[in-house]
Symmetry: C3
Subunit: 372 residues, 3 copies
């Protein structure tokens, strides 16, 4: 297709994985090589056609060819397995029997993880290209490791430290005194101030880290800004999505625990603390001074008020409105938040009570008639 | 008013349409010229005073003067028609009789469209001012049409193609290999990677297109990033609002169909596909791999989970939480989503059941007493 | 701790207020000095140990030392008072008796305001460092007061006016004709067009002000953009959070009244008007042409449809979905919005009606059994 983009045909839409304009590719790899990397079991094609074959890339079940690897990790797409032309499929043991005769397999009890590692073999993350762009500005007293890449129009203040292998994207702004660890990926247009970042931290484009929390007092002539004197601490392996915002603390730090991943357009208020490996999905918001344990999941568009505690491994459903503490391991949803079972029981109850309001008799008195 | 901005008086607030500091103006135009462009019927003022008059600009009913054009497209503002000083009003046939005697009219069955076209006559969109700013950076192998305008501090990577008449705003970042069509408007601070854009695509400031989807697998030592190997495809005439985020696909493309319009702060997950002429209002979010048909409307702050299908012309209400497929043409609202009628019936039922809990007798057993 | 940031110990997390890498400090100050500034009453330590003592900084109750000032403004943290090592605590009269014997106090009926002012004594906001960075671009016809600070890679258009003492951050884009008052703080990566800003306006990083509203008409070949010909007016002392978006009006102005504060990721539609001293918390959205009175509070993730009126001092709860006018002083929550009391009564009613569905008899007929 020439420049410009009209409505894509279905074929165009599904044949463009790992477009070479955007992605570099390694390989080829044999099934055994991939199985080893993936931690799965290699199963040759039943008809022997795939013996000794190597694979050059990856693709979805619908469009992958015989020299490509595909995967199945979601039961709802299992029907695509029959018609796939992929040369090898990564999947769970339960689907192994459904693999077409000419197709090899890698069987794994964690097929998505196995897939992830195989895809990474073909398309490894790019490394830093050491050097500070001539159009970047770096404060004289800052220490930027020589192995770092700093893009054009980046502005790095004074007293900044940046560890080995880190990539600073174009137009990134890093305030005075900020400390960034090794092998971080700071996306274009991120702004960071009053913060320390561990190693392997990823910020996606437009993330805003360390600005003032939303703090003010009511004074005689209007609101008065309360100084926000804490920091933001992003521990190792944290990931923050595009255009998300994390305010610095007021009198303590805002902390995102090691390995936690935040999606796009997420808001984290001042003094909030997330434990390790928490997940916060897009457009969710966590208000000030709330504390999450480890492995907490906050689904999309959920909102947590301030000054509450969420126990480890709790799961907060999409659009949930959490107004009080949540116990470790609990599953809650609804606004206000309640256990999943209670929420869906409420939904069913209300549906039942609302039916046939025009019919005679008492609405709620005849349970049998309402069971529908 | 001099520099600085105290509380505006009501007069100042309503007299500032098309402030000449910000907008250029064409004209004057006669009523007949405008009616032709608008596809409406010109009706001279009943008292003849407006015969031969031309108009120099546009304004709201409350403040437009005799040489200005105004419009009425919302019944709730019909009372303003009586007192208007506008010289010509664009409106639907139903209101034609209410036009003041000295005021001409353009009557149209689509008055908002007619208004839009007339306003565009006075204030046409500005064209590209060809040239690449001296402070922009363009990769050597990129092909930027000579008619394009590229603003200061823009960064355009390698292998990029940009079609005729496109305007690239200041600080825009365009990654390697990105393809942009003709007559696009890329707002300041937009970031685009792994994407192809059709013709007449508009990105508002701060939109982030093509970053990694939110994909990770649970590994033995924490989350492991799943390579995101798809693209973003924005078809012709797509519009993306300020600070919205569109993730690229994982193994297929994220596609926004031709003519679709997304408002500010919208999130689109990886592999999501919108058909043509969909509308997604501000702060709504659509999770990964969900598919929308054509002419779907998603109202503000609605959320759709992943892997579902929304039929064409469905309408998703504000703050709706959609957890399963929605049929073509359906109107849903609530969380979880349900038909509009059911939602409001539920609201009424619950209100009724909650009333007077302190009263004697069984609450739900006496339907008559509850009808209130 | 060296560069990089592993999981912080609890001690590290709480001992880092006003990290000298990020904050400058004034002082020391005596208790009497602070009490005067704070408008509170100084109460010496009961054991006399603090007589004549001065204080060098501030800290939270858990970690502040004897030369530091702390505060208590939230009942839920009152238990921390016993163990505090702080030399002086700012608090409300109700807690004055609980202050440890060796600790001085400032007692105030507005302790948070008092705290704010004391913290500001130690950490005053920094002033403008006059000068236009060599890498900033300023239109020839613009008038930037010599006392302004303009950061690197800022782009200021033609006909712009900027008042004394204002700081323009790096990468800020200011469109032609924009007028900005005195002592404003425009954060990095803000984009402003078609707007006038009063004095002491603060924009946090990434705020987008003045782009087109979401306006289009349905034409025969798809949507047609409706020219957006109004402005954005930010009155004195307005504050806009990180990555928030405020669209300019279509035929009148979008107005944010004096002293109003908007948090991060807030969306304001075209023609919307906020009165003075409104509060809009993160991720809330206000649709087009809606009008708020003065002192209205809109909590996090609330959404207001267009063309409605919210009376002064109304409070809109978190995640509230407001579909119709709200009276002055009303407290509403829920989606659709309803009075707080009604909302929580509904929640209780539904919980009661949903209980024990497996038990015999009619569910709603035996109220006594349901009272739980």
């Amino acid at each position: 297709m020439a420049r410009g983009q009209g409505p894509a045909t279905q074929a165009e839409r599904t044949s463009t994985v790992a477009d070479t304009r955007f992605f570099t590719r390694q390989g080829p790899f044999s099934g055994e090589q991939m199985a080893k990397e993936a931690g799965g079991e290699f199963i040759p094609a039943r008809d022997g056609h795939a013996d000794g074959r190597t694979y050059v890339g990856i693709g979805p079940l619908q469009s992958a060819g015989v020299a490509e690897v595909s995967f199945l990790d979601n039961r709802r797409y299992a029907s695509l397995l029959d018609g796939t032309k992929a040369g090898l499929v990564i999947l769970a043991p339960a689907f192994a029997k459904q693999v077409p005769a000419g197709c090899a397999a890698i069987v794994s009890s964690t097929p998505y993880l196995a897939w992830s590692r195989v895809a990474r073999m073909f398309h490894p993350a790019r490394n830093s290209r050491p050097g500070i762009h001539a159009m970047a500005i770096v404060g004289a007293s800052s220490m930027v490791d020589p192995s770092c890449e700093v893009g054009p129009f980046a502005v790095i203040g004074d007293g900044v430290e940046i560890g080995a292998g880190t990539i600073i994207g174009s137009h990134v702004v890093i305030g005075d005194g900020v400390c960034i660890g090794e092998d971080c990926r700071i996306g274009a247009h991120a702004v960071i101030s009053h913060a320390t970042l561990g190693d392997r931290v990823t910020l996606f484009p437009g993330a805003k880290i360390g600005q003032d929390g939303f703090g003010f007092a009511v004074g005689p002539a209007g609101f008065e800004t309360v100084p926000q004197l804490g920091r933001v601490v992003l521990e190792h392996d944290v990931e923050i999505g595009a255009n998300s915002t994390i305010d610095r603390g007021s009198v303590q730090d805002t902390v995102i625990g090691a390995g936690s991943r935040l999606d796009n357009l997420v808001q984290i208020g001042h003094n909030t603390r997330l434990g390790k490996c928490c997940i916060v999905v897009s457009q969710a918001g966590i208000s000030g001074s709330t504390e999450l344990g480890d492995y907490v999941t906050v689904a999309a568009q959920a909102g947590l008020i301030g000054h509450i505690k969420i126990g480890s491994k709790a799961r907060i459903g999409a659009q949930c409105g959490v107004m009080s503490d949540v116990e470790a391991g609990a599953d809650v949803i609804g606004s206000p938040a309640m256990p999943f079972r209670e929420f869906f029981r409420n939904v069913a109850t209300l549906r039942r009570l609302s039916k046939k309001p025009e019919s005679g008799g008492t609405r709620a008195g005849h349970a049998g008639a309402e069971e529908n």
